[in-house]
């Protein structure tokens, strides 16, 4: 059985930031028990233009849109299970928190807040995972199998080759979670540190190989997280993204952080498994 994967867009088209700006990610993707939202930054609901305000103002704007998007997916704020907040400076934590608490008065979701360089000069960006509906495919009593997945090409098994304490990916229930991947050359296992567009292409080809090794594929990805070494590479990344995801792209969150080994990019994803593990 393969689960359907459905792209969710907001009811109000002016709030569809990725479509308005012709960006290659979907606002949200539903598959399995969960709906995965892309990182949301503040935009004006009337014009769709980016809003640059205080942390409190941006947080309020974002959480209103998050609420609307969840409703468009048939979910709600009460169904949110996990929130990730990216903030330009952790000194502003309390300013974010004071607005945040208004939106999740009781039984608040699990949450992680960290400071990172955001795209587009925004101060806050928020993504979340929510239950698509109150009654899911897997009742809470389920104890799902958990399996390590490996790439068919051993040169791409970076963690094994460098003796690092992570697995290439883990398959549990309906989902495959991949570790962050970089531009590794599939012939030599070395780093392929060419121009950023080539690095991103190489990484996405490797990701396709990793998912296909487990019976899934790029078209089954629901959510991606991209870390760039340089926020200035954002547009170049989007150009490459369109080559790989011409239609119904995954939900995506991007930020800029320090990376190892001279990598210009690192990408991780959550994908729907191709079939249930036996």
């Amino acid at each position: 059985m393969t689960l359907p994967r459905q792209v969710i867009r907001p009811g109000n088209p002016s709030l569809d930031a990725s479509r308005r700006a012709n960006l290659p990610f979907s606002p949200a993707v539903r598959g399995g028990d969960f709906v995965f939202l892309s990182g949301i930054a503040a935009i004006d609901p009337a014009t769709g233009e980016p809003v640059h305000g205080t942390v409190a103002a941006e947080t309020r704007q974002i959480l209103r849109r998050l609420d609307q998007l969840l409703q468009a997916a048939g979910s709600s704020l009460a169904n949110v299970v996990k929130v990730n907040v990216l903030i330009y400076s952790m000194l502003e934590y309390d300013n974010m928190n004071s607005v945040y608490r208004e939106f999740f008065p009781t039984d608040s979701p699990a949450r992680t807040v960290c400071g990172a360089k955001l795209i587009g000069g925004h101060k806050v960006e928020i993504e979340c995972v929510a239950l698509a509906s109150a009654t899911g495919l897997h009742p809470s009593a389920d104890r799902l199998p958990r399996n390590v997945i490996q790439p068919a090409n051993p040169k791409l098994n970076v963690s094994r080759n460098a003796n690092l304490p992570h697995s290439p990916g883990i398959w549990t229930g309906d989902y495959i979670f991949l570790s962050g991947m970089g531009p590794v050359d599939p012939l030599t296992g070395g780093r392929n540190l060419g121009p950023i567009a080539e690095q991103i292409r190489q990484t996405l080809r490797n990701m396709a190989h990793m998912l296909e090794s487990a019976g899934s594929g790029l078209d089954r990805i629901v959510k991606m997280t991209v870390v760039l070494a340089d926020a200035g590479d954002y547009d170049e990344m989007n150009r490459v993204w369109r080559e790989f995801f011409p239609m119904d792209p995954p939900a995506r969150t991007t930020c800029a952080l320090q990376l190892s080994n001279g990598n210009g990019v690192e990408i991780e994803c959550i994908a729907l498994a191709g079939k249930r593990p036996s």
């Binding site: 399995g32 028990d33 969960f34 009460a78 299970v81 996990k82 929130v83 990730n84 400076s89 952790m90 934590y93 928190n97 945040y100 608490r101 999740f104 039984d107 608040s108 979701p109 699990a110 949450r111 992680t112 807040v113 960290c114 400071g115 990172a116 995972v129 239950l131 109150a134 009654t135 899911g136 495919l137 897997h138 009742p139 809470s140 389920d142 104890r143 799902l144 958990r146 963690s159 690092l164 304490p165 992570h166 697995s167 990916g169 883990i170 549990t172 229930g173 979670f177 991949l178 570790s179 962050g180 997280t225 870390v227 952080l257 320090q258 990376l259 190892s260 690192e266 991780e268 959550i270």
Partner: protein, 129 residues
């Protein structure tokens, strides 16, 4: 079904201790989503700033408490965002990390970010229930 996993020991309730508006973890769809964990004394709730090694150790011990109270375990972790204050400590993190997940370790992405209250490590995990 979405259910809140409450803190098994008082110190792990960051909402009560520090006004962080979050639950320690949420269980849904066969998975457990944990809030980002930092080095907190599980009894007193006091922040225990230290080295990457000491903070990561404390976090794993707390995570063990939290997951086992929910009927899961460290072996059931599927994905980790391992956040450190500086990428240069990557190998230091790995040394302590591999002790807690020696076999079939979770998928992982290491990120160098700014962490709350001057901590050096934060672990953000998703676990099979």
């Amino acid at each position: 079904m979405r259910s809140v996993i409450s803190a098994p020991v008082p110190g792990l309730d960051l909402r009560r201790e520090y006004g962080h508006h979050q639950s320690p973890a949420i269980r849904a769809g066969g998975l457990i989503f944990c809030s980002g964990m930092v080095a907190i004394n599980p009894e007193t709730g006091e922040r225990e700033h230290g080295t990457v090694t000491s903070e990561a150790q404390r976090i794993f011990e707390n995570l063990k408490l939290l997951l086992e109270s929910a009927g899961s375990s460290l072996e059931r972790i599927v994905q980790v965002h391992a956040m450190i204050y500086d990428r240069i400590e990557y190998d230091v993190l790995n040394r302590v990390y591999r002790r807690y997940v020696p076999n079939a370790p979770p998928a992982r992405t290491v990120m160098s970010v700014q962490i709350e209250a001057g901590f050096k490590v934060m672990l953000d995990v998703i676990v099979a229930a």
